[in-house]
Every structure is written in structure tokens, then in C-alpha cells.
């Protein structure tokens, strides 16, 4: 009965939101009509209906293929990393680098080196890999150690533990990962379509439509992208709900996590560390050699060093890069904290006010799937071209993955632990403060790690499309000047920065989790 009532109130809230949108749009209240009413958008969709099928098909094909490839690689890598911590160490640099590569920087490179649909599929897959890989590792390492002991006690080997306990235990986390990954794949494909000069795809349609100055068309394309992403999101959410019921622990795992595998002596440890640093550069070098793209366009790691420090324009390049960094970095920090804070508030609220959050979720999803290239000209009308705009864009690209990770962590807190304070008459808030938040600490750190590179990406998108400052602008200008050295330098520096922030978070995470006796979701 209660479930039925909450479903109705959820629908009611959604209806209120839609009605509000319609009124605001019809009366041209936002930015002189840049936000059209919902029925105006639907009407426009109907008029344009003949245009859509081929574009939708192209986007579905690219994002679907990218989603499958990215997830297969992500899950396989996640399993390997969870089983062989050494592999995780060696590939750490690569993992963060893949996630931190700004799509706006690599899209032209991919367009150049790969042909046909490949750039779109690759960009979609790259948007998916990290989320799924991380979720898999978290899921496997957080598996109930008592169940593991049980299998061992009955003579089960490493493989049995993996098959019977860890993989099953990891399913909820993997599903949560897939849920976040789905909109990422769609966005990645659309971004590559937008820039890549193909004939079909929603991104191509968006580019052709942007110049028309018709917000209702742009919102229509955004809506279609949202429906595609939303359906895949809903599919995995449903799957996750059905499977979670059976695999959630009903009591708190009180066992102290196993100590980290036998301490490595300094020499192998140093070697692993060096390998982690060298690995991304090796792959970078290998990619260029493999694609056989001429040196003028593709810069190897050595090419970038040469450009930044040794070449004849090195001084000017350094100065431009440093000036751009000085504009980009401060706002990135602020945006990251704001996005994370918003996600945390949202996750906590979803426990306290599940209905309000349920009604908010469709809106949140739109911010994830409405392509930023379409949204930014409209956001400019509302927010101007200053810091406010950059902050909002950054929050909108960071909060969603962080929120899903946090919400997943909160949902996995065993019920018995939550019921304890309740039995003592504690308020819902006390219960959250004393049990839910501490228990979800590993997920808070995981969410922070997700947020770090995305914040940089959000700031760069805003700089590229609206404010004309910093790294985002430098990157775009370099593209027009055929300044390949700078294009690769910006990508390399932004990745290096993301890796650095990431490492800082990891160090803090280790200290804190060790103190509270939890194991990190590394």
C-alpha cells in the first residue's frame, strides 16, 4: 500500500514539475524564451519527425557498441585488478589517465587517426570503462569476508571464492556502474558526432541545428538523447533492484578487513611505482606508432617535452600554458567541492526525503544527457559568461556520478545496523549521522575520486563554449592554428593534474579508512 502511495506522489511531483516547465516556457519567462514550453518542444519534435530515425540509429549504434566494448574491457580489467593487486598498481596511471583524458581534446585526435564510426565508438567506450572498472573492483574487494572464509573452510580455491562470493557480491556495484556508464556512452558518442564531421548522428543533427537559433529544436534533440540514456539507465536500475533483494547482506560484517597482502620490500615496490608512471606513456607511444600517423600531427611523450622545453617556441608555449592553468585551476577546485557537496546532500536527502528525490531524478538525468554543446548557449543567456556559469556547468558534470556512487553506498548499509539506533529511539537524522554516513565512507572517497577529473573537464567545456579563458580556450585556439604540440600538451598536462589530485585523495583516503578500520575501494 505504502509503495503504491509513494509511486502516486512521485508521479504527482513529476507532473507538477512538467506543468511548471510548460508555464515558464509558454510565458517566455527564462532568458526571453530560450527555454520553450514542453508542448512547444514536442510539437517541434513532431514536425521534425522525418529527420530523426537515421540520426537516432547512428547514435544508438555508436553508443551501444561503445557501451558493450567499454564494459567488457572494464569488467575484465576490474576482475584482474581485484585478483592481482600488483596489476592494479601497474595500471593505476593508465586507469586514471583514460578517465581524465578530456574528450574535447582527444576527439580531434581520434577523428584524425581512426576512420568512420571508430572515433565515436572509442569515445563512448572510454566514457564507460573507468566507471565500470572501478565499480567492479569495489564490488569484488568489498565482498563479505565471512562468506569467503566459508568457501575456504570447505576447501574452495581462489577461483571458487571469486565465482561463488566475489563476483556475485560485486553484481550490485557493477550494475550501479553500468547505470552511470549508460548516459556517459551516449554523451561520448554525441560529442564525437558533433565534432567528427559524419553525415548521421544526433550530434551531427545538433551541429546543423545550432546555427538555426531555434531553442525548441535543440531541446528536442536533447530530449531524444535523454530518452535514449534514460531508458538504458532505467533498464539497469530495474535489473539492479531485482538482483539486490537477493544479494544484500542482512547483518553487518563485523570482521576486521584482512591486512594488505604481505608488505612489499622497497625494491619491487619502487619498480611497481615506476611501472605505473611509465605505463601511460608507453601506451601513448604505442598508440601513435600503431596508428602510423605522421609526426607533424601526433606527438609522442618525447614530442611534447620537446615542444614545451626544447623547441624554438618553447618559451611562448610555456607562458601560454601557465597563464591558462592559472585561470583554470582555482575554479576547478571550487567546482569539484561544490559538485561533491551537492551529490552528498542529494544522497543523504534521498534517504530522508525519498519522494522529493525521486521527482528530482528525471531533471538530474536531463542535465546528464542534454549535450552541453546545446545547453551552453542557452545557459549563457541565463547565467552570463562569468564564474557562475563555469560553476554550474562543473557541478552538472560532476554531481551525477558522485551521487550514484554515494547512493549505492548508502543503500548497501546493512539494515540491522540502521535499526540499532532506531531501536534506541534515535531520530532518522541521528541514525544517518551515526551509522549511514560512516558506513558509506569508502563510497564517499570513491565518489571524490570520480569527481576529480570530471571537474576539470566541466571547467574546460565552459571555457571552450562560453568564457573564452583558460585551458579550454587554449585547446580550441590551438586546434585552429594547427598547433598540435599545444593540443597534446594541454591533454598531457590536464591528465597529469588529474592523476596528481587523484593521488592526493588516495593518500587521505588510506589514512582515514585505516583509522576507522575499513578497507578502501581502490
Amino acid at each position: 500500500m505504502a509503495a503504491e502511495a509513494s509511486r502516486w506522489s512521485g508521479l504527482r511531483n513529476a507532473a507538477i514539475l512538467l506543468l511548471l516547465w510548460e508555464i515558464v516556457g509558454r510565458l517566455d519567462l527564462v532568458a526571453g524564451g530560450a527555454l520553450p514550453g514542453l508542448t512547444e518542444i514536442l510539437h517541434r519534435l513532431w514536425i521534425d519527425r522525418a529527420d530523426y530515425p537515421l540520426h537516432i540509429w547512428a547514435t544508438l549504434y555508436a553508443s551501444g557498441l561503445g557501451f558493450v566494448i567499454g564494459n567488457l574491457v572494464g569488467i575484465a580489467a576490474g576482475v584482474i585488478f581485484a585478483l592481482f593487486p600488483a596489476a592494479l598498481r601497474v595500471f593505476r596511471g593508465v586507469n586514471i589517465a583514460v578517465f581524465a583524458l578530456p574528450p574535447i581534446a582527444i576527439a580531434p585526435i581520434l577523428v584524425l587517426t581512426l576512420s568512420g564510426m571508430a572515433p565515436r565508438v572509442t569515445l563512448a567506450a572510454m566514457g564507460v570503462y573507468f566507471v565500470t572498472m572501478t565499480a567492479t573492483v569495489i564490488g569484488i574487494t568489498q565482498a563479505d569476508s565471512r562468506a569467503r572464509d566459508l568457501i575456504r573452510a570447505y576447501g574452495g580455491g581462489r577461483w571458487d571464492v571469486l565465482r561463488l562470493v566475489q563476483l556475485r557480491g560485486a553484481v550490485p556495484a557493477i550494475l550501479a556502474g553500468l547505470r552511470v556508464a549508460a548516459p556517459n556512452a551516449v554523451l561520448g558518442a554525441i560529442l564525437a558526432e558533433f565534432g567528427g564531421g559524419g553525415r548521421w548522428g544526433l550530434g551531427t543533427y545538433l551541429l546543423g541545428s545550432l546555427g538555426r537559433g531555434e531553442p525548441d529544436r535543440l531541446w528536442g534533440i536533447g530530449l531524444v538523447a535523454t530518452v535514449i540514456a534514460g531508458l538504458s539507465y532505467a533498464g539497469f536500475a530495474l535489473l539492479s533492484r531485482r538482483m539486490l533483494g537477493a544479494s544484500r547482506a542482512v547483518t553487518l560484517n563485523a570482521a576486521v578487513p584482512e591486512a594488505a597482502p604481505a608488505k612489499l620490500s622497497p625494491v619491487p615496490r619502487l619498480l611497481l611505482g615506476l611501472a605505473a608512471i611509465a605505463m601511460p606513456f608507453l601506451l601513448w607511444w604505442g598508440f601513435i606508432r600503431l596508428t602510423g600517423v605522421p609526426d607533424l600531427i601526433s606527438k609522442t611523450p618525447w614530442g611534447v617535452i620537446d615542444y614545451l622545453f626544447l623547441g624554438r617556441s618553447a618559451e611562448s608555449a610555456q607562458a601560454r600554458l601557465l597563464a591558462a592553468l592559472a585561470e583554470t585551476l582555482p575554479i576547478t577546485f571550487v567546482g569539484m567541492l561544490a559538485g561533491l557537496g551537492f551529490a552528498f546532500l542529494l544522497a543523504i536527502s534521498s534517504r530522508l526525503f525519498p519522494r522529493a528525490i525521486a521527482a528530482f531524478m528525471p531533471v538530474a538525468l536531463i542535465t546528464q544527457t542534454m549535450p552541453l554543446v546545446a545547453l551552453t548557449p542557452l545557459l549563457v543567456l541565463i547565467l552570463g559568461r562569468g564564474t557562475t556559469l563555469t560553476l554550474w556547468v562543473t557541478i552538472s558534470v560532476t554531481f551525477f556520478p558522485a551521487f550514484v556512487t554515494l547512493a549505492q553506498g548508502l543503500a548497501l548499509v546493512p539494515r540491522s545496523a540502521e535499526e540499532l539506533p532506531r531501536a534506541y529511539g534515535a531520530s532518522r537524522w541521528t541514525e544517518i549521522r551515526m551509522v549511514t554516513i560512516p558506513a558509506s565512507l569508502p563510497y564517499l572517497f570513491a565518489a571524490t575520486r570520480l569527481t576529480v577529473p570530471r571537474a576539470l573537464l566541466g571547467v574546460m567545456i565552459a571555457e571552450w563554449l562560453a568564457t573564452g579563458k583558460g585551458l579550454g580556450n587554449l585547446l580550441n585556439q590551438s586546434r585552429g592554428f594547427l598547433d598540435y604540440g599545444m593540443i597534446w600538451s594541454v591533454a598531457a598536462v590536464s591528465v597529469a593534474l588529474s592523476v596528481l589530485f587523484y593521488q592526493i585523495v588516495v593518500v587521505i583516503e588510506r589514512r582515514v579508512l585505516r583509522r576507522v578500520g575499513m578497507s578502501s575501494a581502490e
Binding site: 526571453g32 577523428v111 584524425l112 546555427g211 537559433g213 549563457v380 571552450w464 573564452g468
Partner: protein
Amino acid sequence: MTLRLTRRGFLGTAAAAAANPLLPRSALAATPLTMQAAWINDAEFAGYFLAMDEGYYAAEGLDLGYLSGGPDVIPESTIIAGRADLALTTPDTTIKAIAEQGAPFKIIGAQYQKNPIGIVSLVSNPIAEPRDLIGKTLAVPPVNVISVNAMLKLNGIDPSQVNIVPYAYDPTPLIKGEIDASLDFTTNVPYTIGQQGVEATSFLLYDFGFTIYNDTVVVTEEVLAEKRDLLIAWLRASRKGWEENFKDPAAWPPKWADSHFKGTGRTIDNEVFFNTAQQPLIESPSGIFAMTGEDIEKNLSALGEVGIVGSHDMFDTSLLDAL
């Protein structure tokens, strides 16, 4: 009985075909040649679509591959990577790359004798000449900032007196008054703005001293050496396509509603406007794609103003002469 193609048999047949000069040209296999366009399909490339559809390339023995462009597609990069034989580029970018990076490019023709980019504003808040830009907000695609700075400098205006912001391909901020003007193709955007019930005005950067071509036809030196005849054939067929197109600029776009212009998000009326507006910018008394010594000089001196030092040997007019 199975049919087997032996190496010797194949070579023999090929030699026989090559040795028979009486064989009509069309009976020989067409030679592939790929071009990289500068943007997504619109009237900017009408001459090529026409030449493709009417078989002008096939008649020249070409099997033309056509790659459309987009914001991330740097046309010059595509020819460096060998994925296209020729590209339509902006001459400032190309000449800068040759001069500063030693890129092995040659310009063999120019589609636009006058660059169609200009400053677009609303009649209600008109920007009629560069001087009017002082103290105003102008949206410019980051790639074109260098062109705008050149034009301002040529007109004695310090670029810091104009508030330049990025242009995100959408005229809505201009229509809503968030910006005072934007830099765009004057052949296209005034129509779009008119569709929104607002009247637009514009001037070309070309008419205020920034006298450069656009959509210059660029090849690598290697392709120029190896495929010279094919490039001449391409220029001949493309010129014929453009000439046919301009006999009636309103005639062809409607025919492509279900092919080249299907689902581009733009309207056929828009393409007709575009096609009509670009006619005086493309046509030249010396023939389409012409590069006269005088015009090359104009390009070089305009680019020299912004520190891009080009030279006459970056242009190769010998292919046009052979048409």
C-alpha cells in the same frame, strides 16, 4: 570450371587496356580521389554535389570520395594523415602552418575569391563598420580570433577595446541581445536571424582590409607530385559543377532535399539563400578557383599584418593554367 585470376593474366589484361587508346575513358576503371570538405553538408559545397550527381567527376575518370567536415575536423590534418588527397581550408591557417611548422602544403585553387566571414549584427543595434565595435561584445569562434584581430588592427582599433567572447555556433545570444555582434558566414546567418522575425545587417572582413580567400584548395607536395593529372581533372569537374550551379542558384538545392541535404537540420530555403548570396564571392572573371597574382598579393599583405609571413611559392597556379 573455376575462373582463376593469375598475376600474369591480370597484368596482361591491364596492359592491353592501357595500350588501347581507342577505348573510351569511361570504360576504364575510375581512379579514386578523396576530398575533405570544411563543414557539414550545406550550400557551401553545392558545386561539388552537383558535379558528383551529374557525373562530371566520373567523366574525368575520377571516383570521388567526399568527407564532410565539422568543428573537430582540421582539414589540413586529414591530408597530412593521408586520409584525403585534397582539402578545403582557411588560408590563414594553412599559410601559418607552412610558414611556422614547415608543413608541406601547396594551395592550388581558391573557392571563395572573397572570404564570406563577416560581422553580423541586428538592424536594431547595428554594427556597420569596424569602428562601431568599440566597447561592444563580439562573439567569435576561437579559431577566427586571429582574423578579427587582423581586421581591427588594419582599421586602427586596439583589439582590447572590443570585448571578444567565444561563439558557440548558435545565433540565439545575438537575437536575444546578450552579445552585440558575432562573426559568421554572412551568406548564411542573416537568413537564420530573419527567420526569427529580426532583421540582420552585416559587413565582410574582406571589405575592411582583411582581403583573404576562403576554402582554399590545399594538397600536400607529395600528392601534388604524384596525382597532378587527377587534381587537374578534379578542378575541371568542380569548376563545371560550380558554373552549372550558378546558372540558377535556386534550382539545385531543392533537388538535394532527399540526398545531400536530408536531415541536416537546415531548410532548403536557407540553402537557396546561401547559394545565391555566395555567387558574387565565388565567381571570378578568370574562372572559378582562380588565383591571380594580384589577389595572392592581397592575401599575403593582409596576413602579413598579423605576423603570418607567406610567400608566392605557397600557391601553385600551374594546375589552373592547365585547365
